[in-house]
Symmetry: C3
Subunit: 116 residues, 3 copies
C-alpha cells in the first residue's frame, strides 16, 4: 500500500497519507512575535492548508493533540479553537503542557485526519 | 468514507471512528478529590464505556499514551493499569510527564483502538 | 479484523498491527549510561528491529513523536535522526519536552508505520 508524502524535507515531511488516513507533522507558528491567539490562528491556518493539499479539511479531523508550554494560554487558545472547529464535527482532542523546541513557540498542534 | 462521532461538544468530541479505527479524546477524572489510584480507575472506566459505545473493548486497544503531571504516581498508576488490561492483549503504551489543563488532574489517557 | 501483537508483556506489548498500520510502544534505551547520541542510536535501532518484525521498515513511518526531557539534547538527537531517516521518505514528526519514567532516559520515541 503506497504512502504519499507532501513537503518532504531532510528531517521530516509535513504530511503522510496511507489508506485514507492523513498524518501531519507538529505545526508551529512562523511569526513567533505573535501572542497565543495569533500563533494559534497561524497554526490552524497551516492545518487548513495541509489538509486541503491532502484532500481533506477541518471537518474530517480524527484526533488532535495540542502542546502548550504555558497552561495560562489555555483559555485564549481555546477561544480561537472554538471559532475554528466545524460545529457538529469537532474532533477528539488532548491538550497537555510541554516545552517546545523553540522557546518562542507558544503552541504546537498534531493532527490526524481522514481523506474525503 | 464516513466519520462517526460520539458525544459531540462545541470544543471536542469524545470519540471519532473511521474505517474501523477508534480515536478517543484525552480522558480525565471527574472526581478530582481522588488519589492517583482512584483517578486511574475512573479514567479507565471512561475508556471502557466509550470503547463499548464505539463497538470495541479494552482487549482491542492499539495504542495508549499516558500523561502524568507527577512521575511519583507512576507505580500506583501502573498497579491499577496492570489489573485492568486484558492478559495476552496488552497494548503498546507510552507514558511521559506532562502538566494537565486542570492542576487537580493526576492522569490523562489517550487511546486508539480497533472496532470488533 | 484481527489485531496482531508482538512482544506481549503483562503491562504492554511492543507492537500492535491492525489493517496494515503498525503501532509501536514508546522506545527507550536499555543502556542508560549513553549520552543523547548513543541513546538515540539505540532507540532507533529498536525501531528498526520492531518494524522489521512487523513487516515494515524506516522508509514506511507515518508519524513519529519524540519526547526529550532536556531540549538541550535537540541538536545532537537531530543529527543522529537525520543520518537515520530514508531520504525522500522522511516521516511527519513532533518533538516536545517531557519528563520520562526513568530519569536516566534522555529520549523516548513513539512510531506509527505502515506494513509493506
Amino acid at each position: 500500500m503506497t504512502i504519499q508524502r507532501l513537503h518532504v524535507g531532510l528531517t521530516l515531511s509535513e504530511v503522510a497519507i496511507h489508506r485514507g488516513t492523513i498524518y501531519l507533522a507538529g505545526q508551529v507558528a512562523d511569526d513567533t512575535t505573535q501572542d497565543i491567539a495569533g500563533q494559534t490562528r497561524e497554526v490552524l491556518g497551516h492545518v487548513d492548508r495541509l489538509l486541503q493539499e491532502a484532500g481533506s479539511d477541518r471537518s474530517r479531523i480524527l484526533m488532535c493533540q495540542i502542546f502548550l508550554p504555558d497552561l495560562g494560554d489555555f483559555d485564549a487558545m481555546n477561544a480561537v479553537w472554538n471559532d475554528w472547529v466545524t460545529p457538529g464535527q469537532t474532533p477528539p482532542r488532548a491538550t497537555v503542557q510541554a516545552g517546545l523546541a523553540n522557546p518562542a513557540w507558544r503552541i504546537e498542534v498534531v493532527v490526524t485526519a481522514a481523506q474525503k
